[in-house]
């Protein structure tokens, strides 16, 4: 404990302080002048793409796959000559699945590393947080994380792009597949957060058109490890379909426990987003018979040529490994930005945003483009069913049940999202 009684500071301290302030002021002026920007982005300087992603935490496996695939895209681009001889650098940062940390990292990437573009994120909350920072500073952000909110007018900006699917699309696609096939009486077991609610909304909207009825929408705390408290009621309701509106580890836990309670005897389990990593972590027993949606499954290569090309590239680069769903998004997210740079012949945010808005591409699963009003990538949704027998190797975990073709009609309308026109 210090015992301080203030006296006035000696003169020398005052002068030096003043000089420091002057230096700081000069520094501020220099840093904010356009002159400074020109110094940084001189000819031949590398193009920098910031890549914040949760390298540590619950989704580190998915995040690391994102990084691997993104690095593949960067290498491809550089090997092909880059942009006017300028190479691309990928600056990967750990956002720890924490929105506050994601915002700080984004500030670091923009202020310290002076990145040209940002691609990344995995959780809904972190992408919104990154977007809040990038849009204020007019930096392009191509999000590879699922969320409905980023497409809405109040979060969106001309520099915001959404490469990944959103819950509305995946839920709708799964609903359109599952309800006619398995039955119309539905119970939802929903993670109680925005993403979970968005999934239910997607299901119910598609379901209404098909005549499905919601028996109950049971909300569980996000991150719950134990679902036994919710299962007796679900058992009693005897639904045709139980939709597990949750994600990642929550899905693994709820699928496991629903299986333990014998729910599969009378009910079909369905989930909007069935991740490759979740299925591997949960095992074939827990996921037997579970049907879900995904943005990509490597097994598509049998029917989609672009998938085979992409898979082979990945296999060559990573010793036979196959890309996961989030991995493919990491690849596409970066590649779209780089292609737009080539098309725009510039790294200026406005020009690249314009070029990206007009981009039509097929990087790994078929034709895609960004819808004009909200920059949502209009793309196919793959319905997969978990395999429990006849698996050729540890990666052969799904059969592709159906592929829903890209269509703007599967998205929420521009006006609904608050965009004018």
């Amino acid at each position: 404990m210090s015992n301080a009684i203030e006296k006035s500071a000696p003169a020398s301290t005052v002068t030096s302080r003043r000089r420091l302030l002057q230096a700081a002021a000069a520094g501020t002026a220099l840093a904010s002048s356009p002159f400074a920007i020109n110094i940084v982005r001189a000819q031949g300087a590398p193009i920098k793409i910031g890549f914040p992603t949760p390298l540590t935490g619950a989704f580190s496996a998915e995040a690391q796959d994102q990084v691997r695939a993104a690095e593949l895209a960067v290498k491809e681009f550089n090997d092909a000559g880059g942009f006017n001889g300028r190479r691309v650098e990928l600056l990967v940062r750990d956002d720890k699945l924490n929105p506050g940390e994601a915002a700080s990292r984004t500030l670091e990437l923009i202020e310290k590393d002076k990145v040209d573009f940002i691609v990344g994120s995995l959780s809904a909350a972190t992408q919104l947080s990154i977007n809040a920072v990038t849009r204020e500073r007019k930096v392009i952000f191509n999000s590879i994380s699922q969320s409905d909110a980023i497409n809405e007018a109040k979060d969106w900006s001309p520099y915001t792009f959404h490469e990944a699917l959103n819950p509305h699309m995946t839920a709708g696609a799964v609903a359109r597949y599952a309800f006619p096939k398995f039955g119309k009486k539905v119970v939802y077991l929903t993670a109680d957060y925005a993403y979970g609610h968005e999934m239910v909304r997607g299901f119910e909207r598609a379901g209404k058109a098909l005549g499905a009825t919601t028996l109950a929408d049971i909300r569980h705390p996000l991150g719950a490890a134990d679902y036994s408290s919710f299962l007796p009621r679900i058992q009693a309701l005897k639904p045709d379909v139980l939709v597990l509106c949750n994600f990642g580890r929550d899905l693994v836990n709820s699928a496991k426990q629903a299986t333990d309670f014998g729910l599969k005897e009378s009910t079909r389990l369905v989930t909007p987003v069935l991740l490759f990593t979740s299925r591997v972590a949960g095992g074939s027993d827990a996921f037997e018979g579970v049907v879900g949606g995904t943005s990509y499954y490597w097994g598509m290569e049998d029917s989609i040529p672009a998938a085979k090309v992409f898979n082979d590239k990945f296999r060559r680069a990573y010793g036979g490994a196959v890309p996961s769903d989030y991995g493919a998004l990491g690849y596409a997210g970066v590649r779209s930005v780089l292609q737009a740079v080539l098309n725009a012949k510039s790294t200026d945010s406005d020009k690249v945003s314009d070029a990206m808005g007009r981009l039509e591409y097929n990087w790994y699963k078929g034709n895609q483009f960004y819808r004009k009003c909200d920059h949502q990538s209009v793309q196919s949704v793959i319905i997969v069913e978990s395999k429990s027998k006849g698996m050729k190797d540890k990666n052969d975990v799904f059969t592709v049940a159906s592929i829903e073709a890209p269509s703007e009609s599967n998205l929420r309308s521009c006006t609904e999202l608050g965009h004018k026109g």
Binding site: T56, G57, A58, S60, A61, Q64, D192, I218, R219, H220, P221, G223, A224, A225, D226, S228, S229, F230, L231, P232, R233, Q235, A236, L237, R249, V252, N253, K256, Q257, D260, F261, G262, T277, V280, A281, G282, G283, D285
Partner: protein
């Protein structure tokens, strides 16, 4: 809600008891360490998680779930004893905050070690073959394994009760929690007792992990929510009271279960509200001794 039949309520109650069994076991370990050493073990959730991982590891190694049930708590307890001897013991007498904070740091290390050893994705866990499937209880289907869990918890709690009430070691524990000075004066090597108690508490945490692993995803982060739940139960029951840990465990399990049925969004909140109410009305918990903690 028309479907609230007596059968459903009964099944929900059974679910609550099964849930409570896990809570009770977790709280017992925490309470034991607190009662004897007045150390709040913030690494409790981490030891639980380590137990879950090692449980799967030993089960795969030996091919037997029962063997892993014996080996894993022993290993976890050994780790706990090492921690007590070298990390916690230097801090006795410095007030309650320091050991608490130390175990907080320890939990970080335990979590990261599991990531390094077993990978970041976690391990797939399977229910032992003999206990797979569900049983028709007449009121609905219920997992066989969870019924077995209730039984296992009862056995452990009974064993612990016998240890504390009927053995000399237990006598020392009881005396030591009331007045360690006198116990030392009477010639007992209190340091060794502390070591064993800490080991026992962490071993029970590890055992809970092994038992809980088949019911949920096993990953390095699984202990974090468990820690909060363990605290709620221990506080409600009374820190330092084993009877309290068991009763509170069952109570919290049933409260959580019933709230999940009637108002599921508030289930998680309800246990914190319960904790706040107990602390404000009767801070020593249901069975704790008043004035035990400053």
């Amino acid at each position: 809600m028309g479907e609230l039949t007596p059968q459903l309520l009964a099944l929900q109650l059974v679910t609550g008891v099964a849930l409570g069994a896990i809570y009770a076991l977790l709280a017992v370990g925490l309470s034991l360490i607190f009662g004897m050493l007045t150390v709040v073990n913030f690494a409790h959730g981490a030891f639980f998680m380590v137990g879950a991982f090692l449980g799967i590891y030993f089960q795969t190694l030996t091919g037997s779930f029962l063997l892993s049930l014996v080996i894993t708590p022993a290993v976890v307890g050994a780790v706990g004893m090492l921690a007590e001897r070298f990390l916690v013991r230097p801090l006795y007498g410095r007030g309650i905050d320091y050991p608490l904070l130390l175990t907080f740091g320890l939990s970080y290390i335990l979590i990261e070690s599991m990531r390094v050893v077993f990978g970041i994705e976690g391990l797939p866990s399977a229910t032992p073959a003999a206990l797979r499937g569900s049983v028709d209880l007449g009121i609905g289907r219920f997992p066989l394994y969870r019924l077995a869990l209730i039984g296992a918890t009862a056995v452990v709690v009974l064993g612990l009760w016998l240890l504390i009430e009927k053995t000399r070691f237990g006598l020392i524990i009881r005396a030591g929690s009331r007045d360690p000075e006198i116990v030392r004066v009477l010639g007992v090597d209190v340091a060794k007792v502390w070591l064993l108690v800490f080991g026992l508490g962490t071993a029970i945490a590890g055992l809970s992990g092994v038992l809980a692993a088949p019911t949920r995803a096993v990953n390095p982060e699984m202990g974090i929510t468990v820690l909060a739940e363990s605290f709620v139960v221990t506080v409600v029951g009374g820190m330092g009271s084993l009877m309290g840990a068991v009763v509170a465990g069952l109570l919290v399990g049933v409260v959580f279960s019933m709230t999940s049925l009637l108002a599921p969004e508030f289930a998680e909140l309800s246990i914190f509200v319960l904790m706040a109410i107990v602390l404000l009305v009767r801070p020593q918990g249901l069975f704790g001794k008043a004035g035990l903690m400053a």
